[in-house]
Symmetry: D2
């Protein structure tokens, strides 16, 4: 229950709609007396916010965070932290045309049917705008991880449409990723992606793609059998992000074609530490981190909002022709990179906190 | 927390190890006064049990269910239902050789590191044998769904190694699926798969593959924004199954290569019912079922236990050569079909039960 | 976990401190398309707010609610509802004297020890001010109950200090209760209580007392064995309220002195309905409502903040003399009446919602 | 949800009925590699089991525990621990007379109405017999507490009927308590209680009473604001026990009659430790333990099952005369002492485990 909450110890509760007063997040289970740098939270919000470049939606939101509870000066008090991100540039009038229409591949029909009512303004609760709160919570989680662990989380755009990195990169950092306008860490592929997004924008069309993510410095032992596997929780978290249609860890779908003798990761002694000579498993075995870098990929469908002509029905089930003119991203992937990082951070922090209760007599 | 429980209303708690007294499941949140046919539960267990054919492990377990609570005659009482499946054919001596070794791509190292102790007998808690309880609970859930909805869940083996169905099938049923020894509903591909499993067995090797699943008759409105999306919960559930490395819904990873104009599912009026003319979304939009068939795929790595020679280290991190001689499936996919169905059933039943609290004034 | 949340379906998450921007509440699990009258929520807040009379704290807060999410016009959308109550009359300077002192019977020491930090301004998170959000959520819950059930919840002041009602009243309503300045529905006792509170205020002292509560119109079947008994959940809820030290249902502590033959409630047929001839059980048997009125009592200790001189220690454990001059209620009970009602409403609504999943084939 | 589970980290799931195969408990969240002495678990079961003396029910159950999962030799593995207690002396035929009758103050009517079905054999799921599993889990929890803390939990019979200890005792231990046949640590009162229970038994009547409990050695900081207060969780836990009708902490209901100047507990420096000079608060302030002994009391109604004649109705609502002849305790309090201790242990262990995630930089 409580479908707007996520995480069992460091637990976030999301609220707010695209065109209401604000979107927000409340974090419960924050440890006390932790110094938090608000600028680092804002920095991740800035990577997600609209209007970063001409490749994104023209809605111009500054997405400034307002922490209204749970902090004393720059320290956590252990009380729940509520962060608001106000909606400044609302244009409710834009949505009058579509309020009685079920847009293709949007959640218009499913929300209307489920609740008997639908907030049509900017998608209401189903808007990707609600992820602003998640990003804030994720950046908060990362600061706790940084103070107590060596864990680093880095996501990047691995493909858009048919342009894809040849190999899964590793040892990236956010600075490298951000040196590309579309957060793809290969100059040539990045340029192709930029061109293809510009073309899609011109054509009133949209593109999907794949985001990759690497988590390094992850101690062994994170994740709990049998229903709280780290892989299960990462999968769950990623599928919370709008437009996600696929998720894989390590070699993922490709590993299904290998033989055991090819896919198994053999253990070695590396200066007194157990490491695996290969990492087909993507850092997770039996649902638990094994100390190797964690790798996963997330597949996004193309943005459902396109301005080229489409057919659909209205709430009376009468056929209509749609010509959506709003402010939409022709490709959400560059802005989704910090969202993937945020949700991963929340999963990892929870697994790390849970682990403090598992082995009371650490070696 | 409570990582051995799954589901929020119809909630299962799993317990038991591969070579202990029994594996079991307790189901809480069972509605009262529902007639349950125990034979139908046993029938699903029979599809999962070892020893069904010479393609599976030679461990011979009958996997008879014993319902020890929560039923009065053939009716539920609303009390928790505990089902035990006794372990009959235990051979603890088999495991003495590997109890101090970290087998490649097994959970030996991760369990040992996490808990400071490890049950080596047949993998202990990490054994796929614990899924017997999940299958029992899933078959229980299906009987409730059948009495109140039209929902049908059918899984099949879509590929093993490089042998794959050309197209995602639909309108299958379990009888059709079971007409193949490896549960692949295409005679030719099925034969190739059988051959390749026999070959892998001979070679002491193993194979992975992909299981497909279709859920039909699913009313619109199942799944809850934003963190209990039906897609999130299915992904979570599938990654609980041992060896799973990938999950996708609808067109999945392939949809990331399409344009919005190609990927969007347009709504139509079909005799007064809204339907989509295509189903790239796989029946889920905005995390909520839209009434179309739900399709998803699950990628499994090859069985980690292979008898061909491997290198690894022991618990002292000294190099060892492994020659695993146990009773293992060269390919787990045929037996994993009912596990996928069971976890899907538990997800769907919970979404359906939750929905009774969402729209109190149904049209 | 998530200790700032309460309720499993209609789930509230509380946040905010006494002297921060606002106190607030987020409600998840709100059914969709329910009309909500904001004035009725404000009306309950007005019964809780400070400054209602000269018997309460002189802090003057209007406690106007601001619903910032989850509503479209006057209807719920099924999205989480966040309600803010801004803190207007903050005087942080008042608290500089006590920030390094552990006040007797306050939570100063326990918070400081637990979190390594403490928000001293008005008690921070431990302030009774945070209950404003609970009252808003409770009034919201009551409107749902009113639209679908006949349930009515009425609390009153049963005693203050040694002045107590002779008998537990029944068939009260809020109008009757509010006709007393101290919400005690007996003119004479009410006057004595008013006098005693005035006297305590003059003396710089404080008073405790007992609040009674009756829930009528409650259908049989609410509450779930064995750990979600309605009695358990009411007890849990009431002990969340600051200063509560005792809770009893029906005859409570007195029933422990009776014999079974005196205490048992015999069943009768009343016009085709089963009723009990007595109600020693207070409407709950086996943890489940039996259809009779539910009665319970809640004991409050006297306000810990008193202005008469007290001894204590500071954070260095050095002895200090305290002379607390703040704005405090000499007796919290009149203002606690709507808090008791709110928490009871949230418990009852959750039990009612849960029950929709228990008996799928109602007679 | 999941009303048969309790506790958020060390989480117990109860199952089984009075006359089924067994009653049992599954504990999830057990830390790994902890040595557990099964005899100490059995010892607490022996204090709860029927047939200890001629003052209890004549049902003779040995209540031997069978741990079927989660242990390797005498150590926990971190996997869920399932403990079964088989029902040996079942007499289903005893219950045929009452299966269609609603016994006064039993849960017959409430279960029947809630679930549409009722297990009549020995009360089925509503039988106090299910607490055998709780006692096993509590004794398990105590062994973890003993290995990592100085916490001791001791309960006793404080009153039966009108015979009551004059003062709340302290510094008791279980040996002292058990030196009384009825677990009342005052020879004279104990004798009176024994006489009164014998008399009630002769008369076919029953008695209630009050159990007291002290928890010593409890570090400050246990319990979480605002809805997981230690007081809330203890109240919740105690009201899970059958027949409980009242709960109070510290001075409880009596403190409501005191003035603040009388009720406040002043802090002192005791050899470098903060202590309070009095303990009206019962060791809990602001819902969090303050390091002083925790005191609480639990009020039980008299056993509902009495053999003297009573009126009631049957399931057709026709009047009946009841003459219950079963095997019942004329007074449950002596056997309820270990149940109170068990539930307290589970609450305290959970609060202690949760606290490991609150202050990551302990002084």
């Amino acid at each position: 229950m409580s479908s707007n909450s996520f995480g069992d110890i460091f637990r976030i509760t999301s609220f707010g709609e695209s065109h209401g007063t604000a979107v927000g997040i409340t974090i419960d289970g924050v440890p006390g007396n932790i110094r938090i740098n608000k600028d680092l939270i804002q920095a991740q919000l800035d990577r997600r916010r609209p209007g970063q470049s001409n490749l994104t939606t023209s809605r111009n939101e500054q997405d400034r965070i307002d922490i209204i509870s749970g902090m004393l000066n720059d320290f956590t008090t252990g009380a729940p932290v509520t962060i608001l991100i106000y909606n400044k540039e609302k244009k409710p009038e834009d949505y009058s045309k579509i309020k009685d229409v079920f847009r293709p591949s949007h959640s218009d029909f499913t929300y209307q049917h489920k609740y008997g009512i639908r907030d049509p303004f900017g998608g209401g609760r189903s808007s990707a705008r609600v992820t602003a709160g998640w990003v804030a919570a994720g950046a908060f989680a990362e600061q706790i991880l940084e103070q107590f662990t060596n864990i680093k989380i880095t996501a990047w755009v691995n493909s858009v449409g048919s342009y894809s990195l040849k190999e899964t990169p590793s040892q990236l950092n956010r600075q490298i990723v951000d040196s590309s306008l579309v957060r793809c860490p290969d100059v040539e592929i990045s340029n192709r992606i930029i061109e293809s997004i510009e073309k899609a924008k011109e054509e009133g069309n949209s593109l999907g793609g794949i985001i990759g993510c690497e988590i390094t410095g992850c101690e062994p032992g994170l994740g709990d059998p049998v229903f709280s596997k780290l892989s299960s929780e990462l999968a769950h978290a990623m599928f919370c992000i709008n437009a996600v249609k696929g998720f894989e860890i390590g070699d993922g779908f490709d590993i299904s074609k290998l033989k055991g003798s090819e896919a198994n990761d053999e253990w070695e002694n590396s200066n007194g530490q157990p490491v695996t000579s290969t990492n087909h498993s993507g850092g997770i075995q039996g649902g638990i981190s094994n100390g190797m870098p964690i790798h996963f990929k997330v597949a996004f469908k193309p943005t459902s909002s396109i301005s080229s002509r489409q057919k659909s029905v209205n709430t009376q089930l009468e056929p209509v022709e749609l010509n959506i003119t709003g402010r939409h991203d022709p490709c959400v992937l560059p802005r989704a990179v910090p969202i993937v990082e945020a949700m991963a951070a929340i999963v990892i922090l929870n697994a790390w906190l849970r682990n403090r209760n598992v082995n009371l007599n650490p070696a």
